[in-house]
């Protein structure tokens, strides 16, 4: 095997067409950003699945831990009044 260390991992985000946001497509290894973009094009858009690609070094992604899930997202759990369906409106009232 080659003596070199493994190429870093990159996360790939693809915008499938104009008007939509970039969506995570997967990951790949590449030595640098430019090669990551080219590899991402060959790997994730072989059938014209995208019009724009972002690549981000995986090490740069900061993620919430699954262990934190309950407490971390808990503040939103008891606030149903943030949803329009929380409110009762008389029958027949329109445009509301």
């Amino acid at each position: 095997m080659s003596s070199s260390t493994e190429w870093p991992l990159w996360e790939v985000f693809v915008r499938s067409r104009r008007g939509l946001s970039h969506t995570h497509a997967g990951s790949l290894h590449a030595p640098d950003a430019e090669m990551a973009l080219r590899n991402a094009r060959d790997l994730y858009t072989r059938r014209s699945e995208g019009v724009s690609i972002w690549v981000v070094p995986s090490v740069q992604v900061t993620a919430s831990s699954p262990d934190e899930k309950d407490s971390f997202f808990e503040p939103a759990g008891d606030k149903p009044y943030r949803h329009p369906t929380f409110y009762e409106i008389p029958e027949g009232v329109k445009h509301l």
Partner: protein, 344 residues
Amino acid sequence: MAAVTADQTAQAGADRPEETDEALEAVFDAAVAADERIEPRDWMPDAYRASLVRQMAQHAHSEIIGMQPEANWISRAPSLRRKAILMAKVQDEAGHGLYLYSAAETLGTGREELLDKLHAGRQRYSSIFNYPTLTWADVGAIGWLVDGAAITNQVPLCRCSYGPYARAMVRICKEESFHQRQGYELLLALSRGTPAQHEMAQDAVNRWWWPSLMMFGPPDDASAHSAQSMAWKIKRHSNDELRQRFVDICVPQAEALGLTLPDPDIRWNEERGQHDFGAIDWKEFQEVLKGNGPCNEQRLGQRRRAHEEGAWVRDAAAAYAGKHTAPQAHAAPHATAGNGEATA
């Protein structure tokens, strides 16, 4: 594949008074039972992780070794159209290998380790690729039968309990259907061609039929991993169930091709509502698995050679990157918590 950033699906209600293994295992079992997906950073039993790594590595290796038998025919394709199609297909197989290696890496096993194990013969690839492609018709038979069997196997994997694997399979299955159709179309052209072409198509089907049935793995009562994999919802159907499904799909397709399947025992069983078929030579399967197939050495040798001969390209790319990019992009890929899905 997919990162924790974009892709954190709900965990089973994690009441964790004490994070004992029993409590964690109960959360895991509940998620599997509720048909939720297990994601990379969720707790999972060691055996589940090991089983996934084994299966996904074998699957990834199969994709890239599977490039070889067909790549041999790219320079001999009978028309530019067929050549372009075959190149696209072989390129897809490389892509499928990469999707699966990425997915396997989310379990904490690095790419180099997986490749090293393949090269050292310590992880397997599908035994089907140890058969030779003797004629152009073999390209058709591989597309129709080998990719057909693979699709039958893979469609249920799109609902596999492990999220990254399931997502990789969705993408693969989408792309795979052109593989099967181009093979079928190729065989149809030969079958309707000259008598010699027809004979070539029939010969290829005769040689690939039985190995394709073996792709579903040993019979259920002899399959080492099946029961546990099904309990974990990594597998959704048994080997024999999928094999039967494949036979039932292929019989009418063969008729439409004007070709026969090399099994005199195939007949419709009214009572079962399925086709009966002949006994599979499992001794042959075991022999190929042990490394005694017609092309085992050639395939692995070619794979090792390709890897070694590519070393200078990898080194050059790394050296160039070292000169031209910001240093932080070169931190070790498995070092921090924000490491995509690759953090176990």
